[in-house]
Amino acid sequence: MSPIRPRSRRVKETGPETVLFQRRALAGFILIALCLLVLLGRFAWLQVQQHAEYQGRSEANRIKPRALPPSRGLVYDRNGVLLAENVPSYRLELVPEQAGDIDATLVRLRAVLALSDDELERFGELRQLKRGFESLPLKSPLTEAEVARFAVHRHEFPGVEVVPYLTRYYPMGALFAHVVGYVGRIDAADAGRLADSRYAGTSHIGKTGIERYYEDLLLGQVGYEQVETDAAGRALRVLRRVPPKQGTHVYLSLDARLQQAAVDALEGRSGAAVAIDPRNGEVLALVSMPGFDPNLFVNGISRADYGALTAATDQPLYNRALQGGYEPGSTIKPFIGLAGLELGLRTVTDTTLSTGEYRLAGMPQSWRDWKRGGHGRVDLKEALAQSVNTYFYDLAYDIGVDRLGQYLALFGFGEPTGIDLHGEGRGILPSRAWKQQRFQQPWYPGETVIAGIGQGYWVVTPIQLGSALATLADGSVRRPPRLLMATQDGVNTARTPARIATPVAGFVRDPAHLAAIRAGMVAVMHGPTGTARAFGAGAAFTIAGKSGTAQRVRRREGEEYDERRVAENLRHQALFVAYAPAEAPRIAVAVVVEHGSSGSKAAAPVARQILDAWLLRPEAP
């Protein structure tokens, strides 16, 4: 019995109704078939027409490339002593997904390991950026004691792990800080590099020194894996792997023992020392004192350490050897003497009378010799041996400032030497045009006079002085100083000698002129009147040298030097240049000692010790 009773019950004709239904059923079936055909058409469109695109998107979905950073090339000295290496280190990492309550974990972790606020803050930032299954660094590096302490408690911290990694280490510490430089984390300043695919997965980049100059060699080649990932980005398996190629190892021409000897010789005083092999331009030692520990910078220097380094009055971060601007003082005299001979203004035997005072006709001022009463009548050799100012006042005046500048430019003064390091200073080679441009003032004749003894507007850098001296010692061609000696791909392969830069062609007309200069410089060390004869005494080889004392012009370009604030004795810079053996030079040295009393007293012994260390080393020929 139905609850809803139809109102009317007429007798139905079933025949037409059946036909009607059958028609409708057929119409329905046809409609359905058409609809399903449309559906199938859509499938066909996706699976045939669009197949390639969706195939690609499906692959892109699941296969993600993952960069495999290469390990950085090592840096050695000429004898294979490691200057920069990659050492295994440990850091603490946390996978948020596995750690459970992270805040509680961090609190408990602090009871086991010291976690600074800095570290926690950095971790907090990373957590915002990264996905839950990614391992985030929490503390690095861990000391061995910390690794051991955590190992005991490891089971209490799921998702927290000690992860080994390679970090740059400079075993020589401060010794090569200014040459080898250091790497640091890639930051905003390296933005251009960040976009570079070669840096995928690499966190560090050469910031200074060799690390920066030979970045491209040391970096190596990034490898990658194609990893199958799920929708959450978890890596499931590696489909393809192209291993990274380790960076090229670099052999420098430096000698660690010589470098150490130079540092020892400076005895903690601020200054710089450059040693070059005149035969090929190889830099044997490049010292700027004081140094600093480059290892501090590798994983981010702490605020306190950086503050201490920048606040120190002796400016340890400042590379004096490359950027330090000094008046050359009397160390320029051999070059001016050679200019006089080469330009035909003097002969080797020409003499000048030193009365203790030099005047220009019609000028009120006078310029002094360092010896009261003068040195008497001196030739070139004696003028160099005794460092007679009057000889060079007169000579410089005869040459004239412009010609002097042109000639000295041949030795590389006034421009960067082209050493394979960034940030080299160019020094100042004064001339009329330079002064007009710099000060909008004409050149005064008196300025030419003092230019003869390396004072006035002169500025040289220690590397310039060393390079110029090497050129003088070799006597034929100028070679840019060079640190890179050889490269090596992989430990077991042969070293590839670095290409030697094309030397600048020789320019000395008469070898007799060079010999005369050399004789004068030998007399400085070994002659009865030589200003540095005390430091030439007892040498196992003949030394050609020249001292210089000068006021410091300024610390670096653009920084004004306030003389009034510096005590008189601190204003003097002691300089010394020397090469040996004088007959066949194998080493040329330029030394600057800041606040030294005089060149011969303060800098000459340093130069002598460097020469001894190199020429008397056990395997020396």
């Binding site: 007429r10 139905k12 409708r24 078939a33 399903l36 199938l40 197949h51 969706y54 195939q55 499906s58």
Partner: protein, 373 residues
């Protein structure tokens, strides 16, 4: 001896059972084949989860038992129960709106022992009711009869839409509409109704939930939010499209295995099938669906009484709606509506109610020669 006796008894029982089960072999076979394909795809899409496959097999077994049971019930009895069944279903739907539970949408009714969705009953109750209402009236139906049908359809469909479960409401409503269509509603009236529905679409938009509106928006432009609301649509199409003509092969769906495709065992399982078996597999399964629908309509056409005809035809045609809505959804032809791919998607209730519907179809087929009553 005992064993021999048992074997003989079993054989006799089987033979008798087969004689008593005048099942339509093509239809039953097609359904079993489809269920088998469904289980195989589920095995792959679930990443080889035997527990999910087992669950689904148990539900399908339950569904086939319901099918067998209903196929033994003569249509005349079904017809006489129809109004009661309808009233009970509407009552349960009302209960759901009051006591229902579920995530976000109230669809489930917990009877302590069983939890079920009364809306699944409506899938059968509604076409039965409309067929019952029209079976002794003059056909094609008059405007008045149609208005009454509209109420009969509108009440349960409205209650289901209110849960909210747009997909089921759509299926339920359409199954009723198919009865009217099969009853011979004239084409111009159908045109008028479709036109009116199109005109009413903006009004429907007003009553939609925000998530439903988002689905429409995403359907129109899935790439506007590729990682959010458009994700499913895009990933499903990537799955299907990357399958190509021959597919990636069984168990080779990366979209499902690597979790890129959400709901890859339920609503989006056919995208996994398309990825693994390609256009060829899809065409075969769609052909199988078309065969089942055609066979259902043939059964309907050969039925003797109006009630059976209308009901059987509506059940067969509603089956098509599942396929079209789900297939359209995973290929981006239609907006995302929660309609499963029949007998392939993981999920018990729809499988059971679908098979129950086919039980009714088989009963109508079995009793076609018994004439009018």
């Amino acid at each position: 001896m005992n064993w021999l006796y048992l074997r003989g008894a079993l054989r006799r029982w089987m033979r008798r059972l087969w004689r008593r089960l005048p099942l339509d072999l093509p239809l039953t076979g097609a359904l079993l084949l489809l269920a088998g394909i469904g289980l195989a795809v589920l095995y792959s899409a679930s990443g080889g989860s035997w527990s999910q496959v087992g669950n689904q097999a148990a539900r399908l077994a339950l569904g086939f038992m319901v099918l067998l049971l209903l196929s033994r019930v003569p249509p005349a009895i079904l017809r006489s129960w129809t109004p009661w069944f309808y009233i009970a279903t509407v009552g349960l739907l009302l209960l759901v709106t009051v006591f229902g539970e579920g995530r976000g949408a109230h669809r489930w009714l917990d009877l302590g022992v069983v939890r079920f969705q009364p809306s699944e009953f409506a899938k059968l109750a509604l076409p039965m009711m409309v067929a019952w209402f029209l079976h002794d009236r003059m056909l094609p139906p008059s405007w008045g009869a149609m208005a009454a049908c509209a109420v009969l359809i509108g009440v349960p469909a409205g209650l289901i839409a209110e849960q909210p479960d747009l997909g089921t409401a759509l299926l339920v409503g359409i199954s009723g509409a198919f009865v009217i269509f099969l009853a011979g509603l004239s084409w111009w009236r159908i045109g008028a109704l479709v036109g009116a529905a199109a005109a009413a679409a903006p009004i429907a938009w007003q009553y939609m939930h925000e998530y439903q509106r988002n689905r429409i928006r995403m359907f129109l432009d899935p790439e506007s939010d590729p990682l959010g609301n458009g994700w499913n649509i895009i990933q499903a199409q990537i799955a299907v499209g990357s399958g190509g003509i021959l597919g990636k092969g069984f168990e080779a769906s990366t979209q499902a295995k690597l979790d890129f495709l959400p709901e890859h065992t339920t609503d989006f399982i056919f995208a996994v099938f398309g990825e693994e078996f390609g256009l060829l597999g899809v065409a075969l399964v769609v052909a199988l669906y078309l065969f089942i629908i055609g066979r259902g309509l043939w059964i309907a056409a050969s039925a003797r009484d109006t009630y059976s005809r209308l009901l059987a035809g509506a059940i067969a045609m509603t089956f098509f709606v599942y396929v079209m809505v789900n297939g359209g959804m995973i290929t981006g032809l239609l907006p995302v509506v929660g309609v499963p791919m029949p007998l392939i998607s993981y999920g018990g209730t729809s499988a059971v109610s679908l098979l129950a519907g086919f039980g009714v179809l088989l009963s109508i087929h079995a009793h076609r020669r018994l004439g009018a009553y």
